[in-house]
């Protein structure tokens, strides 16, 4: 009764959850303001794509990908042998347990006419598959909680998934063990299946089962005499052998049964078998109902993503399908951490503790963005910073075992987030080179808007003095700023400057403009002067500071040993720190 109710309940939740999750693949989008396609259009584009693929030569590519990527998991193999062993064990162990054991009524008993769960090879295989899962889960625990690589994070979802798996497996293992030693189970089988009822015969069979099958009996204890056992064996062959192999074949459960043996009788009387059975099926059903909402959803989404990726390509496939695939990819991420372990910038997290730098953690934020969760200005700019802090080295994409095109995902989401109009100072760094190379794929207005925003943001914060021609009021001079620069080894060299303008004459950026003052705000030697005067805002606001190429011509030319380029670098760092902290304060309020 409870079994059926909970089974159907979990199936209903699972199905609804599945429908909900799959619908998000078509509904969700990173660009909340301008949706290029409706969910309906995306759904039909996907269906069209699937039909077109299935009736084309691409089926062969799909089959190849199914074999190599899904069944053999070659992408994990390339990344690490230990993880491949771990995942193959879990994947195959769990899948085979599901097919052979959980679906025995539907599959196994129909395929094999004389199937019985307690008969070999099924008895042995169940334990063998369980062993695979235990090895896999064991390695997973070791990796997450013992080995703990730096910046490798384990979130709540990872824990739930591992705990759920562990409870299902351990309850199943002890359930089988409790059944082996159970006298109550033994008696019920005798009542149901024995075709004899003489007391001596009953005793003979019981003796055999106590001796060879591990039953703990309240009536009999070994040793037994040979004749009794011989008779017991005859009866066993006639009545039981068709359904029962020796329990030693269930090598894990039999071991667990040995542990239970001393307390077997009281445990059996108190209904341990029923209790464990209830725990086992309830956790299975909880797992089933929770699956669409948990990390375990990757069991469905990842193989699908691998297969679809093998036949799709940006530029060739329908653009609606690219968006749909990216939404699906968010569910295909297993949070395994491969991307973060190989990320070219992961170590920077130690200095800029923004988890969005780490690819595996970016995905979490991307999920929030895609679902349209309301985020304040500060939260969005933090995600934006994480998205921009990427060297586009492509390593995450190369190693992702789920085959997600992370590189493309980062670029598309970065552009979508930039459209919201919050200034991103990182646009003023060489991280922008990649964006510049890909600019033909971005709408022109959006591309230039994001380039202009940072200067607007800087001008908004650094507004103490805005015009170099205005007279400076002594009250506006920031003496602490000057002191701060003097305390730095390289920064302090500004004080050697006697304004000879050699730096400005050497600068290729200055030389590029007919009217440098107008184009750049200030020139290098003037920027150096702002430090001595204690008016950093003038320097921070000037385009010259941010358009400095870092080519060191000025520094090598300076007759006074002012480390001009290094001073400019320090100024930029100070400006970034100040603007970031100011924006944080206003952003959190919004």
């Amino acid at each position: 009764m409870i079994f059926n109710i909970s089974l159907y309940l979990s199936l209903i939740i699972f199905s609804l959850g599945l429908i909900f999750k799959i619908s998000t693949w078509f509904r969700y989008n990173f660009e909340l303001t301008t949706q290029p396609f409706t969910a309906r259009e995306r759904f039909f584009a996907a269906m069209g794509g699937i039909v077109a693929t299935l009736f084309s030569g691409k089926v062969l590519i799909l089959l190849k990908s199914l074999l190599l990527d899904v069944f053999c998991q070659r992408r994990i193999m390339r990344e690490s042998r230990l993880r491949w062993v771990m995942h193959m064990c879990m994947f195959w162990g769990f899948s085979l347990l599901l097919l052979m054991h959980a679906l025995e009524g539907m599959l196994t008993s129909n395929l094999f006419r004389d199937y019985a769960a307690t008969l070999n090879p099924f008895l042995f295989l169940r334990n063998f598959f369980a062993l695979l899962v235990f090895v896999g889960v064991g390695i997973a625990f070791y990796r997450r909680f013992v080995q703990k690589a730096p910046r490798f994070s384990t979130n709540v979802m990872d824990r739930y998934a591992l705990i759920l798996l562990a409870v299902i497996m351990i309850s199943g293992l002890f359930l089988e063990a409790a059944k082996i030693v159970s006298f109550e189970r033994y008696s019920r089988m005798v009542t149901d299946y024995a075709d004899f009822d003489e007391e001596q015969d009953l005793k003979a069979l019981e003796a055999l089962w106590v001796k060879d099958f591990g039953v703990v009996s309240p009536n009999l204890t070994p040793p037994f005499d040979k004749e009794l056992l011989t008779r017991g064996h005859e009866l066993h062959e006639m009545n039981c052998a068709a359904c029962h192999s020796r329990p030693q074949w269930a090598f894990i459960s039999y071991g667990a049964a040995t542990i239970l043996r001393p307390a077997a009788l009281p445990l059996d009387r108190s209904g341990l078998v029923t209790l464990l059975w209830t725990i086992h099926f309830l956790t299975c059903f909880v797992g089933l109902a929770y699956l669409p909402f948990s990390r375990l959803f990757h069991i469905l989404a990842t193989p699908l993503n691998l297969l679809i990726n093998s036949v799709m390509e940006k530029g060739k496939s329908h653009p609606a399908n690219i968006i749909t695939l990216q939404m699906m990819a968010l569910d295909a991420c297993t949070h395994c951490g491969s991307c973060t372990s190989r990320c070219s910038l992961a170590v920077v997290f130690e200095e800029i503790p923004n988890p969005n730098i780490l690819p595996s953690e970016k995905i979490t934020s991307l999920k929030a963005l895609a679902s349209g969760k309301p985020l304040n200005e500060h939260q969005i700019t933090v995600i934006q910073e994480g998205l921009y802090l990427c060297t586009n080295c492509y390593r995450c994409t190369t190693v992702c075992p789920a085959g997600i095109n992370l590189q493309e995902l980062w670029f598309d989401v970065r552009e979508a987030v930039l459209k919201r109009g919050y200034p991103e100072l990182l646009v003023l760094t060489p991280f922008s080179m990649y964006r510049g190379l890909l600019s033909p794929t971005v709408a022109k207005a959006d591309y230039h808007q994001a380039q202009k925003q940072p200067m607007v943001g800087i001008e908004a914060v650094c507004s103490a003095l805005s015009d170099p021609d205005d007279p400076i009021n002594p009250a506006q001079m920031d003496r602490d700023f000057k002191k701060q620069m003097l305390s730095s080894a390289k920064g302090s060299t500004f004080s050697y400057c006697f304004t000879c303008i050699t730096c400005t004459s050497a600068c290729p950026v200055v030389r590029n403009y007919e009217n440098p003052r107008e184009a750049l705000g200030m020139t290098p030697h003037q920027i150096i002067r702002t430090i001595a005067l204690g008016v950093p805002d003038l320097a921070f606001r000037s385009r010259m500071l941010w358009y400095c190429l870092g080519c060191y011509q000025c520094q090598d030319a300076c007759p006074q040993g002012v480390l001009v380029t290094d001073v400019l670098t320090e100024l930029k760092n100070l400006a970034v720190a100040r603007i970031k902290s100011q924006n944080r304060r206003t952003g959190e309020r919004s």
Binding site: S344, M433, G436, L437, Y552
Partner: protein
């Protein structure tokens, strides 16, 4: 000889030919390269968060230290960055202690025992001109090449101490060994413009255009360079400028590793001759 190669982050997508040509030449010259564990040198972070740029380089330096190898770079920006951080950490005990505190999580430690070698220095100083000359089997004839140094291989002078044009020019000597004729041009040590690409594309394009025109006016057929950022600028960005009509005639750009590879008789396919955006295959006709 064994070296840790600092692969530049721009190469996997845009410049695979720089990786394959470098690997092929160094294999021929008996240099073993390791690279898997290294990360970004930190160059793009320098203006945004100086310490973040330091820890990025420091991690690479400490990994090389652990493996007892020097680091080789084939990008001027990686070269300048690693060198600067190395110098800074050697001098600044407080900073190096702070950085080491963070590297400790990965059981790494920066101790300052590693040197940074530009690929040109590996060729000229570590392997030696004789070794290179021995391996050259074909020579270019009538090929006019403008050698492009760029910035961080030369400046800041006190830091890099690279033998640049005007003194014993390493790059010039190496190009001359392949039989190519050197073309003197006065913008050879200026910035390629890459630093501004994506920030202010007009400024960047203008810097690039001036250099290309100066090289052409000086009679060059090809630019030769040894920096990934410069090459992306002179190849990909130049291609864009040509498509947009901002430059009228292409100035093909060859990586030094491609040039040397050809004269060492390495298969042009391995050198990725056809992977450049602006066609450089006519250069094959200039070789003996």
């Amino acid at each position: 000889m064994k070296l840790a190669l600092q692969r530049c982050c721009t190469t996997p997508i845009f410049l695979k030919q720089y990786e394959t040509s470098t690997d092929a030449i160094l294999e021929r010259l008996g240099v073993q390269l390791t690279d898997k564990a290294l990360n970004c040198c930190g160059y793009p972070l320098k203006n945004y968060n100086y310490k973040a740029h330091v820890i990025a380089s420091a991690r690479n330096l400490s990994i090389a230290e652990e493996r007892k190898v020097n680091i080789m770079t084939f990008c001027n920006c990686c070269y300048g960055t690693l060198k600067e951080v190395n110098q800074r950490l050697r001098a600044d005990r407080t900073l190096s202690a702070e950085i080491n505190g963070k590297l400790e999580k990965e059981a790494l430690k920066y101790e300052g025992g590693v040197e940074i070698r530009h690929i040109m220095e590996v060729f000229y100083d570590d392997l030696g001109p004789e070794r290179i000359r021995e391996n050259i089997v074909k020579k270019f004839r009538g090929l006019k090449v403008a050698v492009h140094y760029g910035c961080h291989i030369l400046r800041p002078r006190d830091l890099v101490q690279f033998k640049g044009p005007g003194t014993a020019a390493v790059f010039d000597d190496l190009v001359a060994m392949t039989g190519a004729d050197l073309v003197p041009w006065h913008l050879q040590s200026e910035c390629c413009g890459s630093a501004m690409w994506g920030i202010d594309d007009d400024l960047s394009a203008e810097l690039t255009r001036k250099k290309i025109e100066n090289a052409r006016a000086s009679g060059a057929d090809y630019l030769c360079l040894a920096c990934s950022y410069c090459h992306v600028q002179f190849d990909r960005v130049q291609k864009r400028l040509l498509d947009e009509g901002r430059i009228t005639e292409p100035m093909p750009t060859i990586l030094f590793t491609q040039l040397l590879g050809l004269s060492m008789g390495i298969d042009p396919n391995i050198l990725g001759i056809w992977k450049n955006q602006i066609d450089i295959s006519p250069i094959l006709d200039c070789i003996d």
